[in-house]
Symmetry: C2
Subunit: 144 residues, 2 copies
């Protein structure tokens, strides 16, 4: 288990105790080649499949927010009842598939916005993240 040590160290460095729960969640979130986009509810299901001991919902919330605070996760601004998290913490854009409710990273670094108007007086831009809703054409638009 080389990964194990890696995650333990990462947690220690962050001032977070490497508990069983945090390690289990770390493995599921960060032992991946691809970006992982998820809601807490989705994460719960993955945990229930992969882990024998159950982790309480409160701990899932606690841990995900702790990871976010430490910069290991990003929260994705998306309207809807549930909040999305993203293991890709760089500033980037998304397609949002309204059929499957899945986020898809836009890897193209060349995407750009032109002719941006001046920002309101005394304000600075904090963040620009574009979410492009896509769906199968024939379907009715969601009543979101």
């Amino acid at each position: 288990m080389e990964q194990q040590k890696f995650h333990i160290n990462k947690l220690r460095v962050s001032g977070l105790r490497p508990t069983k729960q945090r390690l289990a969640i770390s493995k599921i979130l960060f032992n991946r080649r691809e970006t992982f986009h998820f809601t807490i509810e989705q994460l719960k299901k993955v945990i229930e499949k992969n882990s024998k001991k159950k982790i309480s919902l409160a701990t899932l919330y606690n841990t995900v927010h702790a990871f976010k605070k430490k910069g290991y996760l990003k929260e994705i601004p998306l309207k809807g009842n549930q909040t999305f998290f993203d293991t890709n913490t760089s500033s980037h854009h998304h397609f949002y598939d309204e059929d499957t409710l899945q986020l898809i990273d836009i890897k193209d670094e060349n995407i750009s916005i032109n002719n941006l108007p001046k920002t309101p007086n005394g304000k600075k831009i904090q963040d620009i993240e574009i979410t492009i809703k896509v769906a199968s054409n024939y379907q009715k638009q969601k009543d979101n």
Copy 2:
């Protein structure tokens, strides 16, 4: 009251009975020169100021959703606990002031996105709306 007739007609044409409540809400929403961005809670407060008879919260929700369905309001995709509505129903972009929690229309028609990557297979773009978060520079970024 020319406006009154206008709103009554608009409601009738839409297949909505022109009730006292709907007329009161119509006046507040649509007798404006500027776009109005609001949450239900904000609308409730404006109503309470301007109208002697109170309108139940359920009716506010019902009416706003009815107006949205008829195309007189747009729901703005914005993360957060409360949903925003917009009297400007055209496709357009926003600044979101994180200090005041206010939406501001971007009127510049020339804004454009360049180098958009191809959409996922079999999917069509439904909507692109950009929300640019702004805030006073000196402030800490919101823990949204």
